[in-house]
């Protein structure tokens, strides 16, 4: 190598340093590659774990939202209905009693419609249990009056019960409270279970990230040492690890979130395909239309982003604490 002039280079004029580089080599220069190496088997594994965990937590959250939404629909529809039942009693004309009861109910404030089930319609309701072609004249089959109420101005139920009891001996009002309570309990239980699964998946994921951070620190021990020697503060090193894990978290979160969105869209398509079949009706009764809506998809996006941000922030905190302990 030929000798060159002495090293004025180490005393470059700082004002000249900001001059833009014009060399072709300099234009294509890699200048700020991540200090924590991005590609490694451990990184790919962590992206996969984050993607799976994000997928599971988004599924749990989405399912919880679907069931909570469906439960509100059930509760709304059940709450706006009640049934008046007239039992046949000896010495009372059932038809008269039904007419009287219907008139009382119609006159009640807050009732929006009244449908009286005729004798043959009431008997038809028993067909699933007793079969067809039977003569039910001898059986004391009660008569039903289906009542729809105005949910915004519900009727005064105790007063209605009192009026009916005073006028008709065999009348009773079923406002479906038992069914309503059972449905609410079931839906709430499912939502609590979904929330627990969501929380457990998040805890498992953050523990995985904690282990991965410690692994990355051990794997990059030499890099950390060099950074210290060249004058890097712990904050700087922790920030580099945060960027590394934020990138991994964003990649994993995006993959997991997209898979969850695709799953809900696919489930919606399957439900649409099964519509008007017994199985489809059952599914619709349980989960509604499988349509998450804007709120649901926004929740999945928020979960994916939160997981990425939390992954980065957690790794930063772990690295910083570890470096501080190193002394």
């Amino acid at each position: 190598m030929s000798e060159k002039p002495a090293p004025q280079v180490v005393r470059v004029d700082p004002t000249a340093a900001a001059a833009p580089a014009t060399d072709t080599n300099e234009l294509t220069l890699s200048r700020n590659a991540p200090l924590v190496p991005a590609a490694s088997i451990a990184s790919r594994s962590l992206v996969t774990v984050i993607a799976i965990m994000t997928f599971l937590s988004a599924l749990a959250a989405g399912s919880g939202l679907l069931i909570a939404g469906a439960s509100q629909d059930w509760q709304r529809s059940v709450a706006s209905e009640m049934t008046v039942q007239i039992r046949p009693l000896a010495g009372h004309d059932l038809e008269d009693e039904v007419t009287k009861a219907a008139a009382i109910v119609r006159a009640t404030e807050g009732v929006s419609s009244v449908e009286v089930y005729a004798k043959d319609a009431s008997e038809k309701l028993l067909e699933p249990w007793l079969g067809t072609g039977l003569n039910l004249d001898e059986l004391p089959v009660p008569r039903l009056i289906a009542v729809k109420t105005d949910p915004s101005h519900p009727p005064d139920l105790p007063a209605l019960r009192q009026r009916l009891a005073a006028a008709i001996a065999g009348a009773s009002v079923d406002d479906h409270q038992l069914w309503f309570a059972w449905l609410a309990t079931m839906a709430n239980t499912v939502v609590v279970i979904a929330s627990l699964i969501f929380a457990l998946v998040l805890v498992a994921m953050f523990l995985t990230v904690a282990f991965a951070t410690r692994g990355a620190m051990a794997g990059n021990h030499e890099i950390i040492g060099i950074l210290h020697f060249v004058g890097a503060e712990d904050r700087f090193i922790a920030r580099e690890f945060q960027h590394h894990f934020l990138r991994l978290g964003l990649r994993g979160g995006t993959i997991g979130g997209l898979c969850a969105v695709a799953s809900f869209l696919a489930a919606g398509l399957v439900r649409a395909h099964l519509q008007a079949t017994p199985g489809g009706d059952e599914l619709e009764a349980l989960f509604g239309t499988f349509s998450l809506g804007f709120k649901g998809y926004a929740t999945i996006v928020a979960i994916s982003l939160s997981i990425a941000v939390a992954t980065g922030a957690m790794s930063r905190a772990i690295v910083f604490r570890h470096l501080q302990k190193m002394g």
Binding site: P7, V9, L29, S30, L35, H228, E233
Partner: protein
């Protein structure tokens, strides 16, 4: 700048590997640190860098008692020291340019503010065409020069170089020595650990710090 008083170092319950080190490195001085292999030259450099704590004695660095320094203060002091490691310690996933620019980058400086400076230094040490290369494809001499450039880029007040000419041919070794001498003339204190007698003969005015029998002998 650096003052050691009766400094000793032992690992665990073992014998002292360095004993009663008493010396100082004054501003704008040039010294060779020499001694047989295994005498503790690299260990002494780590003591100066405060990456090892002495088991006894007092180290004063840039006027500050090392025992009173917290991590941030040590980091601030390290920014005044350039280090060339015997095994280079370049980051394998960064290009030569990025490795050399690393001390400026960790200080949070904008890349555009130091680009010209780094490129010029790389060209001077003969790595102008190797800016994009990763360390794996550099020769031993090129890695050595990259490591030296990384130490010089911050214009340190003190330069510690551990066998800086161990992997280069004699002409380049002479050039590198000239670089260190020029750096010394411009105000930097230089400590070069070496057992290359030929190198030391080229700059006979330099102080000699000779490690032997676990002790340091100073020849001004």
């Amino acid at each position: 700048m650096v003052r050691f008083e009766n400094v000793g170092l032992r690992y665990g319950m073992g014998p002292e590997i360095l004993k009663d080190l008493t010396f100082s490195i004054e501003p704008q001085t040039f010294q060779f640190l020499t001694g047989p292999s295994g005498a503790g030259k690299t260990t002494l450099m780590h003591l100066i860098l405060l990456s090892l704590k002495p088991t006894r004695g007092l180290i004063t660095l840039f006027g500050q008692d090392a025992t009173t320094l917290d991590k941030n203060a040590i980091t601030a002091l390290r920014r005044k020291i350039g280090v060339v490691f015997q095994d280079f310690r370049l980051l394998d996933h960064l290009t030569t340019y990025e490795n050399v620019a690393l001390p400026l980058r960790v200080q949070g400086r904008e890349e555009t503010a130091y680009r010209a400076e780094v490129v010029e230094l790389l060209k001077w040490v003969g790595l102008g065409e190797r800016m994009h290369a990763l360390p794996q494809v550099l020769s031993g001499g090129e890695k050595q020069r990259a490591a030296i450039a990384r130490a010089l880029i911050v214009r340190p007040e003190l330069l510690l170089a551990d066998e800086p000419t161990g992997n280069v041919d004699p002409p380049l070794a002479r050039r590198l020595l000239r670089l260190f001498v020029e750096l010394h003339k411009s105000g930097t204190s230089v400590v070069i650990a070496t057992h290359d007698l030929g190198l030391m003969e080229q700059f006979e005015d330099a102080r000699r710090l000779v490690l032997g029998d676990r002790r340091l002998h100073v020849y001004d």
